[in-house]
Symmetry: C2
Subunit: 473 residues, 2 copies
């Protein structure tokens, strides 16, 4: 590197190639040996920063310095989300073809905001989302051959926000924003509430509907809330149903909720962020019953379909309210393809303007694995979770908190919250596994979300053994 | 690959390594030979899709198939944003260290939503954004040692939205949302209007302030609009000033605007999405005069600081209104580090919950190049643009539309709009270059945004020659 001020120094192609190989080597070796690492980091707040120099360097450093610091600072400072003994939250899937598809996307460095700014980025995205419709038995009304289609959002949070904005636009009463009411179950993801607040919906206009004994939205409560609101002069504009809640995997009755919502004129969004990937297996498709009545649907291949974050598949039956809500066309973005109306401009399907070529990684995953392998992948996780749930059922000190849902098992200590909390703390303190917790029916509950890319039945068996050791069984 | 339903087949580490090398080779060769490609694609709407199979494959395909299709379908179907003769919009920067930093981020696959979910992801982000403060002469009030700090957003659109949400929260009159008024110049980026609409601000409450002869926000008009609105019972809550507009690179008078806005109680957001990178050179820092009076500031290293999209650096002087606006804490995200208040949880600094480890690529860029090389990089672009502007000034058939701003030159044909539009069409039809257009002072204008990673004076000279050929000079 020089600092003479004459020419900036980029890596030459051959330096890039050799640094690229070194980065690939670092990554492959990291993943190969990940099971030898603690799942969680021991760093305390401020520790990572204290190992970094106060100022950026004036002159460039060799690439090897960076890889050395990946070993020295970064790898020990993160939670190993790709560790097969990671059972927290929901896993963030990753896989070799996804990583490499994303690498090529990064390298191409295109901005797919408009069809015209990179046609293949838009068309591949529309196409692979149509593939997902076929693969997962998603109703044809969401296919791009109709009035709607699919788009990749960064997260289910953003998909929900877009659904809210489309719903708000469809009502088209901006001056009556204080009259709009939204309905989600009290088990729905926090992003629903966040998205509504972002969209200017007042807290008091967000109705958190109580759930039934299965932690699914209670139909009677929803019906009552909607009637009361209409009577009081409010306009129900948005109902979100959850297929697989974060806490417990509970599944709302989409069909009956959608009927109620439609009668009230509200937009129905179905959030299956985690569970949606399972529908690639026909035997799990029952959770989508009623989806043909919904206005929008989202699930995250980045949770459980081997595709790196960010990749949330968002579908609308009719794109018009969405694009009308989000389209603003300054002169500098005008172009003949858009004006001919022949193309999709995805910037009108999302909040930000710019967008990465995220379809590439999903395309790589679907082609590298093939549908059969992905089905097998999902089934193995569900089988492992079922095995784990059986152990809990037969366990002297543990009990299931709710019926397990797909690959998510929630359980508790029979001695109550303190014992449950202590068990979680003890397990996580080993740094051999990571579990997270929630509260269900007012009880402290441990969650085991099976779904890591490399998590197998053998890992789940080892988790059970670890639990039993700590319970002295 | 098997389809027996027994075990899912992942690439082995050695298969991953060899596919990884192949992907690196593909990418390095693509970039090495990019100048031999047309800058823009010839595909017509639907053409890319027509070369893709209707359904996803049932069984997996070898990785080489994917690389073959990168050559066959993807590379010819995109706009080559990394081509040095790309002068459209603003360039989307990319560089070898950024690509490789992002590769490692993708491979680690961590979700940095909370400090606890990967401490190093959060701490490195806070740290490198503090580095940017030093490097770019950004006021210390945005440093993380105070009440605020920096965060990486996906885009300046999202940064603006977050500023709007913080501003709206600070007013804290949700039931009076129809009384809130926002002010941006009519040259401001369309994302300001979009963000305001997303936040539930009614169209009629968005005041597009006329600009002066430099296309900067006119202070008198702003002052008048604010007074009128206060008198009519409205609450000014948000003023965005632009440092380097998209159309022409115009710079608002941040200092005077901020004084007016502060008096009115409004939040001041400064959007320097493109121009902000230039302030790494002390001689360009004048554009930030008055920034010490602002509440928030954003610029995009992904535009002009060698870091791949998405990387928008967003700074707030006081994080409280932002995090209060965006924080919702469900049980399943509670953790001791957050509750002790010792850490930053970046999910409260953005709209989505999940987040990639984007700081890694920025860290790689700052260290691999070093500040000196980045300054040189910026200066060379500005010099090349200045050279181009001089040619236009002395040109018999062309004239500058406005004074050039940093590396952006806007010009027009002396014969008027039709001739200008035809020149653009002819130039772009060669597929040797890409320029885009805008309208300034009601004239059709060609934009040359110099700023591609590999764009040098020699490329700009060739562009001038191409222009002269077409003008028969």
């Amino acid at each position: 590197m020089n600092d003479s001020g004459d020419k900036p120094v980029h890596m030459t192609p051959e330096e890039f190639r050799s640094a690229g190989y070194a980065a690939i080597d670092w990554l492959v070796d990291y993943l190969k040996e990940i099971e030898e690492r603690p799942v969680t980091s021991e760093v305390v707040p401020g520790e990572v920063r204290s190992s970094l120099p106060e100022h950026a360097p004036e002159t460039g450093e060799p690439f090897q310095n960076l890889l050395d610091d990946m070993d020295r600072i970064i790898a020990p400072g993160i939670t190993q989300w790709q560790h097969p003994d990671f059972y927290g939250y929901f896993p963030a899937n990753s896989s070799p073809p996804a990583v490499l598809g994303d690498l090529l996307s990064t390298g191409l460095g295109v901005n797919g905001m408009l069809w015209a700014t990179s046609p293949a980025a838009t068309e591949l995205e529309t196409h692979v989302l149509d593939w997902l419709i076929d693969l997962c038995g998603i109703p044809k009304r969401f296919h791009s051959s109709g009035a709607g289609g699919g788009v990749i959002q960064d997260s289910a949070s953003s998909a929900t926000l877009c659904a809210i904005l489309a719903a708000r636009h469809r009502i088209n009463r901006p001056e009556e924003i204080m009259k709009l009411r939204a309905y989600v179950s009290n088990q729905a993801h926090s992003s629903a509430e966040k998205g509504l607040l972002v969209a200017g919906i007042h807290h008091q206009n967000i109705r958190l509907i109580e759930t039934d004994e299965n932690l699914s939205m209670c139909l009677e409560n929803l019906e009552k809330a909607i009637s009361e609101d209409i009577e009081a002069g409010y306009m129900p504009f948005f109902v979100m149903t959850t297929v697989g809640t974060t806490s417990s995997g509970a599944v709302d009755n989409v069909e009956e909720i959608a009927k109620l919502a439609t009668k009230a004129g509200a937009w129905i969004h179905v959030d299956a962020a985690w569970a949606g990937s399972a529908t690639i297996c026909p035997e799990f498709r029952g959770i989508l019953n009623g989806l043909d009545l919904a206005d929008s649907y989202a699930f995250n291949p980045h949770k459980w379909m081997l595709t790196n974050f960010d990749c949330s598949a968002f579908f609308v039956a009719d794109a018009k309210p969405l694009t009308e809500a989000l389209s603003i066309v300054p002169e500098y973005l005008r172009n003949s393809a858009s004006e001919a109306g022949e193309v999709i401009d995805y910037r009108d399907w999302q909040v930000p303007l710019g967008r990465r070529f995220r379809a590439l990684k999903l395309w790589f995953v679907l082609r590298s694995y093939g549908a059969e392998n992905i089905r097998t992948y999902i089934r193995r996780h569900v089988q492992a979770a079922n095995w784990f749930a059986e152990q809990i059922t037969d366990h002297p000190k543990l009990e299931l908190s709710v019926t397990p849902s797909l690959s998510l098992v929630c359980f508790q200590h029979v001695d109550g919250d303190t014992a449950s909390e202590q068990l979680l703390t003890t397990l996580n303190a080993t740094q051999k596994v990571l579990l997270t917790h929630t509260r269900l029916n007012n009880k402290y509950v441990l969650r085991v979300a099976v779904g890591g890319t490399y998590t197998t039945l053998e890992h789940v068996e080892a988790l059970m053994q670890l639990i039993n050791e700590h319970l002295e069984i």
